[in-house]
């Protein structure tokens, strides 16, 4: 309670921006995979075609999951920053309110 909470809003903000940017990049990758992916397979027949379809579909699913994961990470970082700020505010207030009582009782203040 007597120590400050260690956090850096600027570093946190930069990380959140990068995570959101990464989610946007994955969104764009998904758009291209969804647009070009089926088109290049037109007129394609042979032993590798089914493998390609399966791989592409599962990769799209995995990319969606990773995009949501990255957004969830950004969300968690924001929530943790808020928690750190609240904790710091609480400690400052507690110090201000409790220190005079501690001094009055003859304890360190």
């Amino acid at each position: 309670m007597w120590n400050d909470v260690r956090y850096d809003p600027d570093a946190t903000d930069r990380l959140v921006r990068e995570l959101v940017g990464t989610a946007g990049a994955i969104e764009e990758v998904l758009g291209i995979l969804g647009g070009d992916g089926p088109v290049i397979a037109e007129d394609w027949a042979g032993p590798h075609r089914l493998t390609y379809d399966e791989e592409r579909e599962r990769l799209v699913t995995a990319a969606v999951a990773v995009r949501e994961l990255v957004l969830a990470a950004a969300q968690g970082v924001v929530a943790a920053l808020a928690a750190a700020r609240g904790e710091q505010a609480l400690r400052v207030r507690l110090r201000a309110e409790l220190a005079p009582h501690a001094c009055a009782e003859g304890r360190a203040c």
Partner: protein, 349 residues
């Protein structure tokens, strides 16, 4: 016994290799920037309030690797067709042995996935681990906040309530970005397609095609999300996933509707757009700055709101210290007495 027939358009398969490599390169650059930001964050944040993000970044890294592997493998199939006779761009043969040199499945790096595993499995394994780590880390941070707030747990509820808004807002911003990019892509595509026609007519048709595609995607996404809200109920987190899925599905339907309408009104266009790999890679590595600023501002506002809610709750708790006095990090509110030698004998200092 039927004669095996193999057919493909080799130029499209080879072009996909270039496109996938550019996308993977862009993701790699983005991962590098994110790792640098993450290192600074970890160095400057107290562990109790730090969210584990390494796994999430690793999953993006794996995704880029899988994408490059798929593109490389598809390109090898295209190479196998390259020297066959073609008709209207389509190469064909009556013997599938020509593909014997190409592995049956793509593999990340030198090793094959094996046991029927796909490229996506490697990505999903890392993503699942990252999700578990993220959940436990986020829970730990929330528990720390709840402990600081005492018996109420209101702080964690306030944090989760405020934390619920940024992902919605960010998703909405991303949807607008995606729709905008689809629209811009269609404009560029149509512009390239109609090279040689009058400039004003070309610009008008390209613009109309872009608006139809982008607006179709936005409208479809909004309609899908609204329908999802009605059908999925309001119990998070399942409702959020359900609404997101419905919105994504609606957006795709809307985009296809807009594309179809554009094709009907303006005529068909070539199926595969030739992209500049370098431009594509840089685009992936650094997405639209203005839109990201908006998303980051939303997240920041949500953080401020969350801090305000938590602060107000804690202010209330502070007025009633007995509620939480014995639960604050399991330590007494009043600091322990100093060592005997340091106790002052002449009253408070």
């Amino acid at each position: 016994m039927p004669v095996p027939l193999v057919v493909a358009r080799p130029d499209r398969l080879q072009r996909f290799r270039v496109t996938a490599a550019a996308l993977a390169d862009g993701l790699e650059r983005r991962v590098g920037a994110t790792r640098a930001a993450l290192a600074a964050y970890e160095a400057r944040t107290e562990p109790a309030f730090e969210v584990p993000c390494r796994g999430s970044v690793d999953a993006v890294d794996r995704l880029g690797g899988a994408l490059a592997a798929l593109g490389g493998w598809v390109g090898r199939v295209g190479d196998a067709f390259e020297h066959l006779p073609t008709h209207d761009g389509i190469a064909f043969d009556l013997d599938d042995q020509l593909l014997a040199a190409v592995p049956a499945t793509p593999a990340v790096g030198a090793g094959a996935p094996g046991n029927g595993a796909t490229l996506a499995d490697a990505v999903e394994d890392v993503a699942l681990g990252a999700l578990a780590s993220l959940r436990s880390g986020t829970t730990a941070a929330a528990a720390g906040a709840a402990a600081a707030g005492g018996a109420g747990g209101v702080a964690s509820r306030a944090a989760s309530r405020a934390a619920g808004s940024p992902i919605t807002t960010a998703s909405q911003v991303l949807a607008v970005i995606a729709a905008g990019r689809v629209g811009m892509g269609e404009i560029a595509h149509r512009w390239q397609t109609e090279e040689g026609s009058a400039t004003w007519a070309r610009a008008g048709r390209a613009g109309l095609d872009g608006v139809l595609n982008g607006a179709g995607m936005l409208a479809g996404g909004a309609a899908g999300a609204a329908l999802g809200e009605v059908l999925c109920g309001a119990a998070p987190p399942a409702a959020a996933a359900c609404v997101t899925a419905a919105g994504t599905f609606g957006g795709e339907l809307g985009r296809r509707g807009g594309e179809l309408l554009g094709d009907v009104l303006l005529g068909d266009e070539p199926a595969v757009w030739e992209r500049d790999p370098l431009v594509l890679s840089l685009e992936i590595a650094d997405v639209d700055g203005a839109a990201l600023d908006a998303a980051a501002a939303d997240l920041d506002a949500a953080a401020a709101e969350s801090a305000d809610l938590a602060g107000r709750h804690r202010g209330f708790v502070l007025e009633h210290p007995w509620v939480w006095a014995d639960t604050y990090h399991d330590a007494p509110v009043v600091p322990p007495p100093p060592p005997a030698a340091a106790i002052p004998t002449d009253g408070p200092r």
